[in-house]
């Protein structure tokens, strides 16, 4: 429970921003606009993180999602010039709509039906403690994550290498 009119206003504003921009991703006719709406949604979610006083994660979210992932998607669009950039739907859009609405109904019912063990005591994990946790009790998943990232990096590079480079490799 977060008191005060400031956070409440912020919450409603941010949720409006995020949901509208997510809607924008669906509606916009141009794929490039869709990515920009997605960036807006990421910024909205970073705002939520701030609201939940997880500052370091909000900054990390902006650096990683807006700084790298959104830009990666823009690069993918630029590198595929003749693929359709019109952001149209497949024929499965209508069944997908039913699935989504059904899932939403189930989730919302579950959320509002159970009474969560709320607590007013605000214990917030600062960046320092998060670091100590990551390298303390969670050090094994941390190492696994770094292995995963390296594997993904090498995999992505191998996938995208153009045949000329491969031919050059074989000649050497």
């Amino acid at each position: 429970m977060i008191e005060g009119t400031g956070p409440a206003l912020a919450f409603w504003g941010l949720s409006a921003l995020t949901l509208v921009s997510a809607g924008g991703v669906i509606v916009s006719r141009n794929l490039f606009h869709a990515v920009l709406f997605l960036v807006l949604a990421f910024i909205g979610i970073a705002g939520f993180f701030l609201l939940l006083s997880a500052e370091f994660l909000a900054m990390a979210q902006i650096v990683i999602y807006v700084g790298a992932i959104a830009v990666l998607m823009l690069y993918a669009i630029v590198l595929t010039p003749r693929a359709g950039r019109d952001n149209r739907e497949t024929w499965m859009a209508v069944p997908a709509l039913f699935v989504a609405v059904g899932l939403a109904a189930v989730l919302l019912f579950a959320i509002h039906d159970t009474d969560w063990a709320k607590s007013a005591r605000a214990y917030v994990l600062s960046a320092g403690e998060l670091g100590r946790e990551l390298l303390g009790t969670w050090v094994l998943p941390f190492q696994l994550a770094s292995v995963l990232l390296t594997a993904a990096l090498v995999g992505a590079v191998m996938l995208v290498r153009s045949p000329e480079e491969e031919r050059k490799e074989e000649e050497e």
Binding site: P81, R82, S162, P163
Partner: protein
Amino acid sequence: MTEIRSEPFVVNIGPQHPSTHGVFRIKATVDGERVIDAEMVMGYLHRSIEKLAEERTYTQNIPFTDRTDYLSSMSNNLGYCLAVEKLAGIEVPPRGNAIRVIMAELQRLASHCMAIGAFANDTGAWQTPVMWTFRERERILDLFEMTSGARLTCNYMRIGGVAFDLPKDFVPACRKVIERFPAFIDELHGLLSENEIFIARTKGIGVITAEQAINASLSGPMLRGSGVAWDIRKADPYCGYEQYDFDIPVGENGDSYDRFIVRLEEMRQSVRIIEQALDGLPGGPFRTEVPLALRPPKGEAYARVEGPRGELGYYVVSDGGPSPFRFHIRPPSFINLSLLKEMTVGGTVADAIVVLGSIDIVVGEIDR
């Protein structure tokens, strides 16, 4: 795996572009940053000077030669006058020759200043070398203005000698300008040729082997950059160049960097020539009188001059009338440009611009 369809992407390094040194266009087919194919489009500045010259008398053609290569008007005038003098068998007095040598070498300094400044600007040194070289070039243009009245298109040389004698205070002023030059060249040397980024941008870019250069009949700094020691002033001396002692700078591996240091060294040699010419400036007449409506005997003549960009040739055919039957110019830039395709293909767009800067073209001379 089927063949990969990559998208060639035609980029116009177009007629209106900050670093094509005038109205000149390269249609570059580009895959990403790499240039696959480069096609040159020229002729935007064609004024058909060679046809116009056939309507005018020999003396009236001299201003045309200023406007073909507007950066070295003195050398162009000299070339044309030598051709007509060879055709009509006119002797030039020694003072005329000495003044011609001084003017041609001063013009080489001014033109090389422009070339080096523009080349450094193409590699990205944001205007600083250009401003320095233009400061020095201004001093030389003041000398030209003092003698011929004009800075760029001087129209100073006449058939049989020069238009007017040197003004009294020309020699001291010229000495003052020449004394500063070696210090300025060392300054440029420090700023650019020892600058790692400049070396990284120009070393190994646009390489021409000596054999390629000779086959494409290149001349001037382009040829000397590839290691071929060939200079018209030594090979086929004119205007008394054999009296002066100077060297030919020769590069090693024919890349843009070598052409740059060859031009820098040539400026030093020109300073040496001018000093020797100023010391031994003979007295006497500066021009042999030639009738205005000169009618040279029927026949043809070809005279060549070592212009700042290379071998500048003038081929004049006379049918005995007051105006030449045929008037043709051998423009060094046009011929130096023939290897542009081999030099740019394979490099990036940025390299293409640097290579074009190292060739040092003047569009007025290419399109004539």
